[in-house]
Amino acid sequence: MVEVWYALVAFAIAAYVVLDGYDLGAGMLHLFVAKTDDERRAVLGAIGPYWDGNEVWLLAIAGALFVAFPAVLAAAFSGMYLAMFMVLWALAFRGISIELRGQSKNELWRAFWDFVFAVASVVLVLLLGVALGNVLRGFPLDPKGMVVMPLFADFTPSPPTGLLDWYTVGIAAFAMVALARHAALFVAWKSSGDLQTRCATTARRAMPVVLALWLAAWATSLSVAHLRFRPLAIVFTLAAAGALGASFVLARRARWRAAFVASSAFLASVVFGVASATFPTVLRSIDDKSSLDATAAASSPHALAIGSLWYGFGILAVVVAFARQFRQVERDRP
């Protein structure tokens, strides 16, 4: 049961990265790839029907942790207190910038909200990337299993530990570039003309950086995050490499939809690969002595069993409903 929930949490994270990834990435890119008001509207129109639903996956992650590993939720969320609120506020600013931009035709008004949208998206990707980096590197856990740490200490992943160090910032940088490329493929698929050309250029230029940062993240994580070479981890990593290569080839042939799907497979495989390489640790302590493994952190067997029933069913229903919405919205697009 514990393994099932570990997989469900990993699935929710993968879904969030793939889905909110492209609309966060679109927010980071749109100032650069969309120059005119029509182009900016095209970017917002592409993500418009979905971003709200995509964001709910963040709640699905928190929900899965709450059901299955409440100790992890408590330690990680309270331990990264200020960063979590920056995430919440950036989410709010992103939401209102999308809502308010179209409310006036005034050029300055629109430029202002475009800027807010871009900054909020960048901040979100950085913070979530740093948060992920912290989970992988581990927290300074006190005897009660709680976390107190500053924003940064000596900027190395060894104690004294801060939220920011070269490792966590590096993970955030990888997240930023990978999601920028992911979003460029998505917008390229959904657009035409200059906008599409600029997205194609962005995706092409981002490719070597994605590859380099991914390899660097892997290499450093081996020691920092104590990754374990499990068969499953190797399979997912090979799959990620294959998907990244496929997405590169498909993008060169201008098959944008397929390239975007391949990029989604890459991101999901990276998440699953890391999840299999860190199992069963769910709350790593920085010295690895008081780390919590999945069994120790898990809720009662009954809670896990009954929760997996409805959570699994719910996720399935969400996927079906999302597919229907996608079909209907895409069919009715002008």
Partner: protein
């Protein structure tokens, strides 16, 4: 970090009360929209869907912090009770949030046929009410814990159905949803009165007034009796110190009266300048005038709610406004039967300006519930002081509280701007470019 507890509580109270401005209207409007679509009144239904959508967006933006604060600010509660409340909180995210955002996407971004619009509106109704159900089931567990056992240093879930079908949850769901319908009716009536007074959208104005007053009278009555009455009986049975504090009652005894007016004087342990209806409290709480309603003095001090004055005033504000709302809607219905409603300008003005009343009553009701159960965060099981995150500095919490004040001031201004424009445009004129 003792000083932090107050900021934790204030931040949760502030973000919750601000958040609740939005869902109470979406929950109340959702069935009205379905009703209008069933009757093929698409113009009005589309207009109300736009009002719904703005409220929904703000509800989501302010709802995220609510879920996150269980981890950030109330880590003690999350660790201790996550086994139980994690279930219902996550159910809300999975079933309700997804359902709503997906179908709202369909309504706003595709060109649905009337049949599809009806389907999506029903889904939004189900989604918003399910959302309420799961949140209130979570809340009911903290007020009246059921379906759990103690397992070492935390709680373990034993029976999910006891959590979901907790007597307290069912009563609270009924009371809260009826109260949301009251909010929707007052908003409908206010819009109807506004269009009537400004001589615009005549057919819709009449319909809005009609819907608002009829639904308004029925629900204002139902929010007091039976749902409010049932809720109070539960408090009387299971949270005696809360009832005593709500009524400012220090001494015990039969023939307990209901206080209409009075000021609780906690240092002197008495109620100043009271006007009471003798015996009414005994009767309402226990069905007999001889029911012994115990006063605060019958309980140890560490089981008293900490802020008796605020609790007392919040409860009386809710009950007082509730009475006022019944009176106003009864008067409006009377004029409607005499076919004079649209000609009675003072009444129209009153209806137009009365829409904040249910919002205030709802907020006061939540204050009553949350202050009454203190000092417990899970009644009789976990004290509030043990629920907060011990590793978060009080300065950090004060910082985020001030941040929320600023952010929500701005959000509130934008909300007024957006909703004001939608109402100024009115039904019929398609918006959104």
């Amino acid at each position: 970090m003792d000083g932090a507890l107050l900021w934790h509580r204030l931040q949760f109270a502030f973000t919750a009360l601000f958040h609740y401005i939005f869902p109470q209207l979406t929950m109340g409007l959702a069935p009205v929209i379905v009703w209008l679509r069933l009757r093929r009144e698409e113009r009005l239904a589309d207009f109300l869907t736009r009002v719904f959508a703005i409220n929904f967006a703000f509800g989501v933006v302010t709802g995220f912090p609510m879920e996150f604060q269980f981890g950030t600010n109330w880590a003690g509660l999350a660790r201790y009770a996550g086994d139980v409340i994690g279930q219902t909180l996550a159910m809300e995210g999975i079933f309700a949030f997804f359902l709503e955002s997906i179908f709202l996407g369909v309504l706003l971004w595709s060109k649905p046929t009337p049949r599809q619009k009806l389907g999506a509106s029903i889904a939004l109704w189900v989604g918003s009410w399910l959302s309420a159900y799961f949140i209130l089931a979570t809340h009911a567990f903290t007020e009246h814990p059921r379906g759990y056992v103690h397992a070492g240093d935390k709680l373990a879930l034993v029976d999910l159905s006891e959590v979901l079908f907790n007597r307290w949850a069912l009563t609270e769901v009924a009371h809260t949803l009826v109260a949301a319908l009251v909010t929707a009716s007052f908003v409908l009536a206010a819009m109807g009165a506004f269009y009537t007074l400004s001589k615009r959208h005549a057919p819709e104005a009449r319909r809005l007034l009609g819907l608002g007053t009829a639904l308004g009278l029925a629900t204002s009555l139902a929010v007091a009796f039976p749902t409010g009455d049932q809720q109070a009986k539960l408090v009387a049975r299971h949270q005696e110190p809360a009832l005593a504090a709500m009524e400012g009652r220090f001494e015990s005894g039969a023939m307990a009266g209901i206080t209409l007016i009075g000021q609780p004087n906690v240092p002197e342990q008495r109620l100043d300048n009271p006007i009471r209806v003798p015996g009414a409290l005994s009767f309402l709480a226990y069905g007999t005038f001889h029911g012994d309603v115990r006063g605060l003095n019958a309980f140890p001090r560490d089981e008293w709610p900490q802020n008796i004055e605020l609790l007392y005033y919040a409860f009386h504000l809710m009950a007082g406004i509730g009475t006022l709302m019944i009176g106003l809607m009864a008067l409006a219905m009377l004029q409607r039967f005499r076919k004079r409603l649209e000609a009675t300008r003072p009444l129209l003005w009153t209806l137009m300006l009365a829409f904040p009343l249910p919002y205030i009553a709802n907020a006061a009701g939540w204050l009553t519930a949350e202050l009454g159960r203190q000092p417990w965060v899970i009644y009789g099981v976990l004290r509030t002081r043990d629920a907060a995150s011990t590793n978060v500095h009080s300065g950090d919490v004060l910082f985020t509280l001030i941040g929320f004040c600023g952010l929500y001031l701005m959000l509130g201004l934008f909300f007024v701007f957006l909703i004001g424009r939608e109402i100024m445009r009115g039904p019929g004129e398609a918006a959104h470019g």
